[in-house]
């Protein structure tokens, strides 16, 4: 048995592959639902309804999709250049911290700047914080060959502890009754709501615009071409005159900035202050979303809405029938692995022969 590349991957196979993967995921998850002792059909109905069944469900799903889109884009652009950025979680938190540092009141002693100056400053600070956090591991990889997967992963834990120290110490809100919580953003810096009475905010538009911009950058600019060339074959790219190291630096800044913005937009759009539970692992989910989307920026939009719907739907499903919310994480992880296999099946064919 061996794999043989298809001369041209058939369009039908490429389209059917993700559907087959989703079907397989549903099968596995259904078995788990049955094991948990809940009626399978009802559970799926509740999950769908909770994620997509009403205006309120959609507003919650889209709210949850915003940080996922941004971390998904962060992973997609980095993975295109084969820079395995697993540190989006840390970049998100550092971006949020930078946003609060610039846009927080600091008990009345904050920057005395008008909001239309302060807001771009806040977003720029968040993007820069995220970008610089990834620059270190990217340079270590480019210069010394240190595996970026491990360094970015370990940095997530370091950043989480650093944020904890800041929220316990210098950046703690004195009015937070002892909770480790930062001061709130100035109200003028918060993002407006898209639909009144819901939580969905204009950060959604930001994420959509950034997805469009990233798609244009990847498709239409020299940098995008260089990123894809480095990802396809760094040695060949260098031979062809692509400045590999400089491209990797740009990718790191771009990817980290997107994750940093995810943190700032979460704070500005949803919470208005920073706590240690700002993200339930959006950085890691972003990787899954990028893979589900085949690293395509516009695919990331669709995939993040799908994942957000599953997460939101699982919450309400869990309250109704008592199946643990961790089902959502199982679904997302199984979807990742089965999409990988399905994508492979579309590009290769299995040959049942010993050797040719």
């Amino acid at each position: 048995m061996r794999l043989e590349p298809r001369a041209t991957p058939s369009a039908r196979a490429l389209l059917l592959a993700p559907l087959a993967a989703v079907a397989f995921t549903l099968l596995i998850a259904s078995a788990l639902v049955a094991w948990a002792g809940a009626p399978v059909g009802t559970t799926w109905g509740l999950l769908l309804q909770g994620g997509f069944g009403s205006v309120f469900a959609w507003s919650e799903t889209l709210t949850r999709a915003v940080p996922l889109m941004l971390t998904g884009l962060a992973a997609a652009v980095a993975f295109q250049a084969r820079l395995f950025n697993i540190g989006a979680e840390g970049q998100l938190y550092l971006g949020a911290l930078a946003a609060v540092a610039v846009g927080g009141l600091h008990d009345g002693t904050g920057f005395a700047l008008p909001p239309y100056v302060l807001f771009p400053l806040m977003m720029a600070a968040a993007a820069l914080a995220g970008g610089l956090l990834l620059l270190g591991p990217a340079l270590l990889k480019a210069r010394l060959g240190v595996d970026e997967v491990v360094t970015t992963l370990l940095l997530n834990f370091i950043v989480a502890l650093f944020i904890g120290a800041m929220l316990d110490g210098p950046m703690k809100d004195p009015l937070a009754m002892g909770w480790p919580q930062s001061v709130a953003l100035q109200p003028e810096l918060e993002l407006a709501k898209l639909i009144p009475q819901t939580r969905v905010h204009t950060g959604l538009l930001w994420a959509l615009v950034l997805a469009g911009v990233l798609w244009a950058v990847m498709r239409r600019t020299v940098l995008g071409f260089q990123i894809r060339a480095v990802g396809a074959n760094a040695r060949a790219a260098a031979f062809a005159g692509v400045p590999v190291q400089r491209t990797v630096v740009w990718v790191a800044l771009l990817s980290g900035a997107l994750a940093g913005l995810a943190g700032a937009i979460e704070v500005a759009g949803r919470t208005s202050y920073l706590t240690l539970d700002l993200s339930p692992g959006y950085g890691y989910s972003g990787i899954v979303i990028a893979m589900l989307a085949g690293l395509h920026p516009l695919g990331v939009v669709v995939a993040s809405i799908f994942v957000a719907g599953v997460l939101v739907g699982a919450d309400s499903m869990s309250r109704a029938v008592g199946v643990p919310t961790y089902l959502a994480d199982v679904i997302v992880a199984t979807a990742l692995l089965s999409v990988l296999v399905a994508a492979l099946a579309a590009r290769y064919r299995l040959v049942w022969r010993a050797t040719s």
Binding site: G37, G145, L155, A165, V323, V332, A333, L340, L344
Partner: protein, 307 residues
């Protein structure tokens, strides 16, 4: 400084070092075995969680403690088999497949825990391994048999890798699978075997947490320890003896930070001490990067007849 010196004189300190080192030794040997055969195992973090949960659940349901260890090893091996199917069999990206295994194993363990115990607030406990106080050795008699197992596995794995035909086969498929194939070594079978065995060790590393270090299963109890094994393997230049050294060194600093944190008069916030293990891991990676000699075929999928 004097405080640190008196600390180093206390046997309790070294007992703590060895206890912290035990799962790191097991996990690092597991990662080492996979990487020597050419497969990066980023499932390690999730396999720790799954091993911790499976071992604990088995004992909770009445299995003997060693039965729990076996259950953890079996669950680890199963995860390894899945990883091998994806990376060795289907030649998918080892990075992404490994992360997928971590996500899946963690999610399944948490899901299983919540299904089994829907409404508990305090985690149910078991009776963990007792220290081997019959042993006539000072520090070691305060440790559980799993520490002895971990220490024993180091020379065993070294001997296996360097002195047996099977070990030679493992090293060959990690360095030059084409040449190995030419020698008649079934490359994919050897790689699969190494990944399964290595992942079983990672499962036992996780089980140490619930069956020896603590007596219950908590969410987030692994909290990045698994990843540290990946860093330790590079630090050890893929050698079992150095892996033991690295794990001990690492555990030394970890135990030190625990004591400094407990002494209470620290000028630094406690988070700084908790950062140390992760910072040290990154430093270790940077320091050895210049002369790190990765197994040449690490992360390279092998297909028959292709170069």
């Amino acid at each position: 400084m004097n405080e640190v010196l008196t600390l180093l004189m206390q046997p309790e300190f070294w007992v703590a070092v060895l206890r912290i080192a035990t799962p790191l030794i097991l996990g690092t040997l597991g990662v080492l075995l996979c990487e020597r055969a050419g497969v990066l195992n980023l499932g390690v973090e999730g396999i720790w969680v799954a091993g911790a949960f499976a071992g604990w659940l088995a004992v909770y349901h009445g299995a003997p403690l060693w039965g729990g260890v076996l259950a953890a090893a079996a669950v680890g091996a199963l995860a390894g088999l899945l990883l091998a199917a994806l990376t060795v069999g289907l030649a998918l990206s080892q990075h992404v497949a490994g992360l997928g295994i971590t996500l899946l194993a963690t999610a399944l363990s948490y899901f299983g825990y919540r299904v089994a115990f829907p409404k508990v607030s305090t985690p149910p406990t078991i009776t963990p391994f007792a220290p081997m106080d019959w042993l006539p050795l000072p520090v070691l008699n305060q440790e559980t048999p799993l520490t002895l197992l971990a220490l024993g596995l180091v020379p065993l794995l070294a001997w296996g890798l360097y002195r047996t035909p099977l070990g030679l086969a493992v090293r060959m498929v990690g360095e030059n699978p084409q040449a190995a194939e030419g020698q008649g070594i079934p490359v994919r079978a050897v790689r699969t075997g190494a990944v399964v065995a290595g992942s079983a060790l990672m499962g036992v590393a996780g089980a140490f947490l619930t069956l020896a270090a603590f007596n219950a299963f908590f969410f987030n109890m692994v909290n990045g320890r698994g990843w540290i094994c990946v860093a330790l393997v590079v630090f050890a230049s893929w050698r079992p003896g150095k892996a033991l050294l690295g794990a001990l060194l690492f555990a030394f600093f970890d135990a030190l930070q625990l004591r400094l944190q407990q002494s209470g008069d620290s000028p630094l916030p406690y988070q700084v001490y908790l950062m140390l293990p992760y910072v040290l891991s990154i430093l270790a990676l940077v320091l050895v990067a210049r002369h790190a000699r990765y197994p040449q075929a690490l992360m390279k999928p092998y297909r028959k007849g292709e170069r």
